[in-house]
Amino acid sequence: MEKLILSGKIWVLLDREGKLIENIDTDQIYHNAFLHITDISKMGQYALGNLEGWKDFPQKANPGDIIITGRNFGAGSSRQQAVDCFISLNIGLIIAPSFGAIYFRNAVNCGFPVLRCPDVADLVECKKLKTQDEIRIDLKKGEGHNLTQNITFGFQPLSSVQYDIYIAGGLFSYAKGQKKG
């Protein structure tokens, strides 16, 4: 299935010192000043709008791009907009060593792929994942391939619920499918 293979150029969220940014919270991803917006198509322009060094991300990002970030991505509030803003920009997926619990659920529930990859920080540190590298992710096999550098890496496979909800295209579609079955 086409949905199970994703490829795109990556953005590695580094700080000014070149370190992978950890604990990026939902206010840095999507500030609470814009929570009144309910139209997803209008949310993309504010993605990472409060993250130092990345405020121009919505202008730089292209559909299908992949975000690589540090641990505990999406810490903080329960706002769905912090996921929706990336859907709005057609970002392909987000890879991090770990995610905030609510953030992870929110992404799973709207069928947006988020991958837990414990090695990602080391890969970034060794420059095996660099901004604008092209990578290919096989969700089913749990395998990543940096096509630019010809390096492979693994990640935590999707849980059965995450997989099923993702294939269905979100929690609502998944639940409807369950009822019919």
Partner: protein, 414 residues
């Protein structure tokens, strides 16, 4: 089984083990004025006018921008009200205060229950032995209709606290100290059970303070399985029922046990821009402040304001410093009025607002401007969270003392 495993076991047909994903029944489903409009929008898009699973278990709680300060928020609240009217759902409206606290006061979040809402500090309900969980608007719309949701059962860790504390050290200092020791890794995605004489005796207010900041520890929920007479009496008064405290079963299995010695604990302050960046108050005495904030779901109970008033009574907030006071709920507001505490705070120069989530989200009062330094009883000091200034996190008495002298201070410095 640990506390969370026991609660989930009572709400699912599935096998309960850490790491397993179960479908879990939800006793209380709520949404607030942020997130709520999208819950209504998602619901109507997916389910049209089909009734919610159980309207007596479904609530809106407005607490973020109350009463609305701009048209966009007023519109959003009205979307929720109209949806609630159609669905016969109760709204705790702009007068009520912080939703999670209202659910406790109303006895809706009871020991052993499961509760969800669009508030990342919904796990504050761990304070009363309830498994509260913040979720996004897709999740909540689904729970409104299905009455259940999926959940990955977390592992539980045990935190054993050795030693006691006394005035001016409070539950907030204990919480910040635990945050300093645990960081955001040890408790990440785990349930946390806190033990020790310092937490066994905590009041409802103190329990709320500790459990609210489990979110900042990156944990799922925190519980304090032991309790004393004070807390039992408070709970009985709220719900008019005998309080049954939820405890782990024998042979409960823990992923980790962390021992923390709190002997000699002094007031703690978290410096910008991380709640884990915690220091003894004496290390930060050179920091001049422009404003103070007392309130928020972490420190917005009557006991918190009583402690602040003990410091502020008969004293004045320093000229040029503003002190903002926001009670958690209307019930707290009334207790402050009746007890004369509001008068003490007012006489000291504090600005007193109606109940709500002030000091955290842009909406209710309490934003900081560029260059402004604030000391707050809140739970987050992330960059840009409450405006463009810098926020230090501390207890109500440290905020009060700091506002009197104009720099970070403990009541003992006065």
């Amino acid at each position: 089984m640990t506390v969370i495993e026991k609660i989930i076991r009572n709400h699912t047909q599935d096998d309960v083990k850490p790491g397993r994903i179960v479908w879990m029944d939800i006793d209380v489903r709520s949404a607030r004025d942020f997130g709520g409009p999208n819950v209504a929008k998602n619901y109507e898009r997916e389910y049209g006018s089909v009734p919610v699973e159980d309207s007596s278990k479904t609530f809106f709680t407005f607490d973020l921008c109350v009463p609305a300060c701009s048209l966009k928020y007023a519109d959003n609240q009205q979307i929720c009200r109209e949806f609630a009217r159609k669905q016969n759902i109760k709204v705790f409206d702009v007068d009520a205060g912080i939703g999670s606290h209202v659910l406790i006061e109303q006895g809706l979040a009871s020991s052993g229950s499961t509760v969800v809402g669009t508030d990342s500090h919904m796990n504050i309900l761990g304070a009363v032995g309830s498994f509260g969980q913040g979720m996004g608007d897709v999740d909540i719309a689904f729970a409104f209709r299905a009455g259940k949701t999926w959940f990955e059962i977390p592992e539980t860790i045990k935190v054993l606290l050795k030693g006691k504390f006394s005035w001016p050290v409070s539950a907030k200092d204990l919480t910040l100290y635990i945050l300093k020791k645990l960081g955001t890794k040890k408790g990440a995605l785990k349930a946390i059970e806190f033990y020790g004489e310092s937490v066994k005796g905590l009041s409802l207010s103190g329990r709320i303070t500790l459990c609210s900041m489990v979110t900042e520890m990156a944990g799922i929920v925190g519980f304090i399985p032991e309790c004393g007479d004070l807390f039992r009496a408070e709970m009985k008064e709220l719900s008019d029922r005998e309080y049954i405290h939820f405890q782990p079963g024998e042979g409960a299995s823990y992923a980790d046990v962390v021992k923390i010695d709190i002997s000699g604990l002094v007031p703690q302050v978290a410096a910008p821009f991380l709640p884990t960046n915690v220091h003894d108050v004496s290390e930060l005495k050179d920091v001049k402040i422009d404003s103070g904030f007392i309130g928020c779901c972490t420190n917005g109970r009557t006991e918190d304001f009583r402690a602040a008033a003990r410091v502020l009574k008969g004293r004045k907030v320093k000229k040029g410093v503003m002190l903002k006071v926001v009670p958690a709920t209307r019930k707290v507001y009334k207790e402050l009025l009746d007890g004369g505490i509001l008068n003490d705070l007012f006489q000291s120069g504090a600005i007193i607002s109606n109940a709500g989530c002030g000091g955290c989200a842009e909406g209710h009062i309490g934003l900081t401007g560029r260059g402004e330094v604030q000391i707050s009883t809140g739970n987050r000091n992330f960059e840009g969270k409450q405006g463009k200034g810098k926020t230090y996190l501390a207890s109500p008495v440290v905020v009060a003392a700091s506002c009197i002298v104009g720099h970070i201070a403990s009541p003992e410095d006065l």
